[in-house]
Symmetry: C2
Subunit: 694 residues, 2 copies
């Protein structure tokens, strides 16, 4: 085993601690580890004044390292270091995700704080420290995550991304320019040159492992930044257009095809016949190396390669766009597609003359799960299939989400998944698959779960979609994320229902059948501002904050952003989740057993009532039914009488008393609302969730 | 001339500046001197992040010292250093106050700031600096004061006060324990041991003088702290009671006399007949020295003298109380009265048997302007009459307010005033006289002005008292303060009318006939919380802030307090006053000439309309009438037609056009509202003040 980087980090922090008096703040929420109260002052803004060197040392020394065991290798995945033997039945390697609670974090934002309180989130504050997030600062959030029952830290891309034509103030981490390097902005200047950003990430992964938490990353094998480190070696892996025609580049609109339509072969024939398509594909050019190998060799090692190519070849990388026909999004100017095949799609090659035809981006060439060439771009595929192994080897990560995996050639996806599982049989893969109907394909591809569509279903509780999402999830071959928001969607606290809805759903999601609770960073403090407005957003979604808020109009995915960690309700959800995690652990097996779950039904159609019952087969007298009773309506209370006949039949529980384990609302802790053998009389306040054991 | 302390201060600040990176804030309002913008960051809380050593250096180096002239002695009063020759007519030494604008400051509060933003105003913050005010920090407010046209800094007591049984968190500066020493809490730890608090005060006075500003202090010759430095030398100067009867000490209530009645001789006869009085005066004892000189000599130099006296003599100093009969205030437990005479009042001595009678506090013995012994306490009188000269000699102050001067023996008051004027013929005295009807007495006593009752009159604009206050002031032999609030009263911004009223009156007060504008520290930022609830306060006056305000319920006179210097409207009044000061300067002579002032009257009785006209006798065509037109009603606009016939007659101004120099409200800058020769058609918005030259 290599020396632990988390120990090196502790050492470096200690060595750098000096006599400087710091007026440096962190949100009090970051202190879930009983930081020595003589070492900080709590301000009336819910911040702690700390010496950062001491504070981050303390979380390592007093919270993380005491959990370290001897002879455990924390630099491999938790499953490897635990020598996990996979159960034989109903378990695919990586299925540990089912019993997890996932926290989705974007390090740059989740660990961001205006620590010098200058009013601006600086990369270089008055102490020459960064105020955007880093792995080092993220360590101090691990106690909060553990309090909430989180055991899997899922990170939005951490790879080096391009700053060329960057979106927003800081650029998007989805515009990857080198998937094997970690973005230098995540390096913490607090640590200085004594450690590299890779070592800091190692320290973070080790810390998670020591705390029995898993680490998942987000990989993006289909697209890449238009300015990336692969161009100089592999210009033929990209699509090119004339630089001086760049401004005319647009997605061909095809009359007579509805908006956002999947590109079937039949439709593609029509697409190829359209003059807009002809105009579009004629813009594409051969790559510079192919055009003039001598000139290419002269310039390919120059510093500003894009500029050189533009100057000498009049070429630019062609931007990506949606693979749906007549999706109205403009081209994604920051990213491009990899050329998955060296030739043209066999399915559509007959629709055009390919003589002297440079490779081009179109709905078919980029939808490689449906359209295939004869010649796979082997070298590229090997490179892409080695992204995960590279992170496994270097950092011992536990899983990954594959961005747009469903649009990759099936064989490439197989390679990616199998190569990772060769290293770690229990490696987990999450499919970026939003449609439950596609869960079957994802299952067959080898994924452990899909993201699903909780974010569109749950907030539509008035239409009964929350009910449907919960009650029908057991039919899926894979679990979905039990969540109402992601980094691409509106925040729950900004949906109709606001904080109350966010609270109801955050609680309910801990008990969704076949669902993996997913907390979107910021959700725990009722953040209202989305991180991105990519999915299901209203026209003013980016303006959910008050106008005088310093982060008004800012999106975490592109801009300097810090969550509202110091608001008055900041401890409310963490405290609730702290209570719920024990109940969840006790019933975790039942949450994923189809035959242990009974949805409660009522005579009336009440869209907003969710009744979940789980039962255990026990021989003892212990409580063997768990009831989750929720009124998702955040505005009105609810009196309801669900039928429990089926439940009693199955559970053989004939008792008429229950114990109220938890409620989102104040009230007596007794639960005696049985009217007769078959019915339960329930009162639920607006947005209330009651948890009862029978 | 001694070396300038302000230069020494600059030197010390410079010598102490180091490499420490400071996260130290001051309100942006404290930077009225163009502090180098590369040296600070402005936060979104309207604060500046500065290096305090550099910031305070800059105000001295870049704002104050550039005004220093050669061969001027800044350590004497401005009048002495200017070799001022008193005008012969209508000028009493000290009458410069008439043309002044006075800023009333309590250094501890006015220059207080939670600079480390810990949420608490600390005496010892994370940088081991004080966050309560100091003379050093007060320097950085001088530019703001000058912007507002202030040229006289009047300070609430700065003398050492007692912390014994202190009121509130910090104690009241009115509980003086040594009138010749400056309170050590005003020493700035930023400066350390390199300067004494006396030197820091000297630096402050010099700075004011360099900026052509005068400095006035508040002296308290009638009362003293119950624990003070004079007791050990002069126990006979005080009144004593038995320590074990202390809790029974109360003001004798006399049936049949109305509440708060002045103690005439007739009433005193009744008072002496009352059993409550007998009981009360029987509590008094001879002083410890007189009781047992040997024992006294043994203990008088011990450390905790009060305790020693209590232990050995069972004696305590008797607390003071109001000199009005049946004033319902309880005894003022922190202060006591000096014994002005060695014997009993001649006027009332016949009402009781004085055999073996220890000196006692009663409405007569403490009302020394009405009741006199035969034997003045000469030594005490000399001491009291030397307070001002002592500050003149050491600091070169320009004037003083005498606390309760009207209750001193007339001869003592004469001594105080004449001794100060022996040193400085132009020394100014302000009488703590609230009643305009007593202005004549104050004038005869030698004062230059009285405080007056603006604070009760102005806020009662609805009853026409503002009008009365303004229109009748020219009848007074002395000017009064043109103000609507003092440190003892409610804040204007908390009165009915709130910020609008505060704005209207702050503007109007700059042009009150025979009035000296007086800005109560904090008023300029619409402070709502009073500093003390001594006068004209409602029952909830101490709770004017929002409950979540860190200073909720705090009173500056007793507690840690900082003004709301960073609120959104903080620049509004300073900017207005900056404009008004030029107009005021142009018309300053007329403001104090009885025959240059004409109040504007209207046919209707409109209580809230104030119309002031001043005219100059000029031979040129220049504008020679100044009109101040105000609608004190903060809620409703006003259309009014005042008669200007008399004004035209006097001024010989027959023009029909005027120039609007200023308005509190937005609107056109033209003023053409004359209807005919005699009348003016005026529209005034709610609370509007218009200033017009004709």
């Amino acid at each position: 085993m290599k020396p632990l980087m988390i120990e090196k980090l502790l050492h470096v922090l200690k060595s750098k601690q000096g006599n400087q008096i710091f007026n440096y703040t962190v949100p009090d929420l970051w202190n879930c580890f009983d930081y020595d109260p003589t070492k900080f002052i709590k301000t009336n803004t819910n911040e702690l004044l700390v010496d950062p060197f001491d504070f981050y040392q303390s979380v390592i020394k007093d919270y993380i390292l005491p959990n370290k065991k001897a002879n455990v290798d924390y630099q491999t995945s938790l499953s490897i270091s635990n020598n996990k033997v996979l159960p034989k039945r109903n378990y695919r390697g990586g299925d540990w995700i089912k019993e997890s609670v996932v926290y989705s974090t974007m390090i740059r934002t989740s660990a961001a704080w205006d620590s010098d309180r200058s009013g601006v989130l600086e990369e270089n504050n008055i102490y020459h420290m960064t105020e955007t997030g880093s792995f080092v600062k993220m360590l101090s959030l691990l106690p909060l995550l553990q309090k909430m029952g989180v055991d899997t830290v899922y990170m939005l891309p951490i790879s080096k991304f391009s700053l060329k034509d960057k979106k927003g103030e800081l650029g998007s981490p989805y515009g990857v320019s080198n998937f094997n390097e970690i973005d230098p902005s995540l390096k913490d200047p607090l640590i200085g040159e004594d450690m590299t950003v890779d070592e800091e990430f190692s320290a973070f992964v080790e810390a998670c492992h020591i705390l029995n938490m898993r680490v998942m990353i987000d990989i993006i094998p289909r697209t890449n930044s238009v300015e990336n480190d692969l161009i100089k070696d592999y210009p033929e892996w990209f699509y090119w257009i004339k630089a001086d025609e760049y401004t005319q580049y647009k997605v061909p609109f095809i009359d007579g095809i509805p908006n956002t339509t999947s590109p079937t072969v039949e439709l593609m024939e029509k697409v190829y016949q359209h003059e807009n398509t002809t105009r579009h594909i004629n813009m594409f050019q051969y790559n510079p190396k192919e055009q003039n190998p001598t000139l290419w060799n002269k310039i390919r090692n120059k510093k500003n390669l894009s500029k050189e190519i533009e100057k000498h070849f009049n070429l630019r990388i062609a931007p990506a766009f949606s693979d749906h026909i007549n999706d109205l999004q403009p081209p994604w100017t920051d990213v491009t597609f990899f050329r998955m095949y060296n030739d043209f799609p066999q399915e559509t090659v007959e629709f055009l003359d390919t003589t002297n035809r440079a490779p081009y981006i179109l709905f078919d060439t980029i939808k490689s799960n449906l359209y295939h060439g004869k010649e796979p771009n082997r070298k590229l595929w090997e490179k892409l299939a080695d992204i995960v192994p590279s992170y496994q080897r270097r950092f011992g990560i536990d899983g990954a989400r594959i961005d747009m995996g469903h649009a990759l050639p099936k064989k490439l996806l197989d390679m990616i998944i199998s190569k990772a599982r060769e290293n770690d049989v229990d490696f987990c893969f999450i499919a970026e698959e939003l449609q439950p109907k596609n869960a079957e394909f994802a299952y067959e591809a080898g994924y452990n779960m899909i993201i699903g569509n909780g974010f569109t279903m749950e907030p539509r509780y008035f239409e009964g979609k929350l009910q449907k999402f919960f009650y029908e999830s057991t039919k899926l071959p894979l679990p979905v994320f039990a969540c109402g928001e992601t980094h691409d969607t509106p925040r729950l606290a900004a949906r109709d229902g606001y904080e109350q809805l966010a609270k109801t759903l955050t609680v309910l999601n801990m008990f969704m059948p076949n669902g993996v609770p997913f907390i979107n960073s910021g959700q725990e403090v009722f953040e209202r501002q989305p991180m991105n407005t990519g999915l299901d957003c209203g026209p003013n979604e980016a303006f959910n904050l008050n106008e005088d808020d310093p982060y008004f109009g800012k999106l975490a995915l592109f801009d300097r952003y810090q969550f509202h960690y110091t608001n008055d309700r900041r401890w409310e959800l963490p405290d609730i989740l702290d209570t719920l995690k024990t109940i969840r652990q006790k019933w975790i097996k039942q949450l994923f057993q189809k035959d242990a779950f009974v949805p409660l039904t009522t005579g009336d159609q009440v869209n907003t009532f969710i009744g979940l019952a789980y039962y255990k087969k026990t021989k003892t007298n212990s409580k063997n039914v768990l009831l989750i009773l929720a009124n998702a309506n955040p505005y009105h209370e609810l009196y309801i009488r669900p039928n429990i006949h089926q439940l009693r039949e199955q559970s053989k529980n004939t008792q008429l008393s229950g114990q109220l384990l938890f409620s989102t609302h104040e009230g007596p802790r007794v639960f005696t609302q049985f009217t007769d053998y078959n019915n339960l009389d329930i009162h639920l306040g607006a947005g209330e969730v009651k948890i009862v054991e029978l």
